[in-house]
């Protein structure tokens, strides 16, 4: 990282704790730039609350979640943090779902189940 440059911040949103932790471990062990994981949220409502206080630069976002689903959450966060870049990570892999997510403000889409390499590459593209 360049001297004096603040570390980028990532929020991981998924109702599965094993997926949240898996993405966090990939971040720590990969060739990705150093990044500060500012929160792990298990539903959309919690993600919006975390986004308000932590103001992440990047977000990985599941779609099927309790309380507030990913599509609604993307819409709220896109209004709250217009510069944040959102990567959808979902088992819903049909084209209509991907297009809806992108129209709400998402910047990329990774289908579950993802390989480590696919996730790292997608995050690199999100951050480029």
């Amino acid at each position: 990282m360049e001297p004096g440059k603040l570390m980028s911040k990532l929020l991981i949103v998924d109702d599965s704790s094993i997926i949240r932790n898996h993405i966090a471990r990939l971040m720590a062990n990969s060739r990705l730039p150093r990044i500060d994981i500012v929160g792990l949220a298990g539903d959309g409502r919690k993600a919006v609350e975390m986004a308000k206080t932590a103001r992440p630069d990047y977000i990985t976002m599941d779609l099927t979640m309790p309380h507030m689903d990913g599509e609604a959450c993307i819409g709220e966060i896109a209004q709250l943090l217009p510069d944040a870049r959102i990567l959808v990570v979902s088992a819903l892999s049909d084209k209509a779902t991907a297009l809806r997510a992108i129209s709400r403000g998402a910047h990329g889409f990774v289908h579950k189940p993802f390989s480590d390499e696919t996730m790292i590459q997608s995050l690199l593209e999100l951050m480029s």
Binding site: S17, I18, H22, T64, A91, L92, S93, D94, K112, S115
Partner: protein, 159 residues
């Protein structure tokens, strides 16, 4: 309403979803064994942990993945997860059900109304099932373990 039975391609979609999960999340592929027809009408949860999706609307039935605790614990380890709690073991079963749900939506289209995937520990329990056609069991082996995908689904008759 007229319904048709599943064809081999329909079943293969779910089997491939399970195989892809193991290959990508653990880097160890599962081996798919020969499918067979179950001779009872209910969807049976026959192992320690189960991930289930139920469908309705123009379709009816359920799809479940049943696995022993040892298999799911090893999946957690292969993913680098050190916390092997009951909650995390259930989470693996739920995540597999979630992936089955996504594949079902992509294969059969948005007309498929899928309930939120559930995970449960009810070995030997039976899911109420509206499907009238046969249920298929597809065994998957992963290391020394055997898990089962059970597909019990009727599809709207295509004219």
């Amino acid at each position: 309403m007229n319904y048709r039975a599943l064809n081999p391609e329909d079943i293969q979609v779910f089997s491939e979803a399970i195989s892809t999960f193991f290959e990508r999340m653990t880097q160890r592929p599962a081996r798919v064994r020969t499918a067979y027809m179950l001779d009872r009408p209910e969807t049976i949860l026959w192992n320690d942990f189960n991930g289930v999706i139920q469908v309705s609307g123009g379709f009816r039935g359920a799809i479940s993945f049943s696995a022993p605790q040892g298999l799911l614990t090893e999946v957690l380890a292969a993913m680098g997860e050190t916390e092997q709690s009951l909650e995390n073991v259930l989470d693996v079963a739920g995540e597999i059900a979630n992936i089955l749900s996504g594949r079902a939506r992509r294969h059969f289209g948005e007309a498929l109304d899928i309930a939120t995937p559930i995970s449960c520990v009810r070995e030997g329990a039976v899911i109420p099932n509206l499907a009238a056609g046969p249920a298929y069991a597809i065994p998957h082996t992963w290391g020394p373990y055997e898990a089962h995908l059970v597909v019990h689904l009727d599809l709207v008759q295509r004219r």
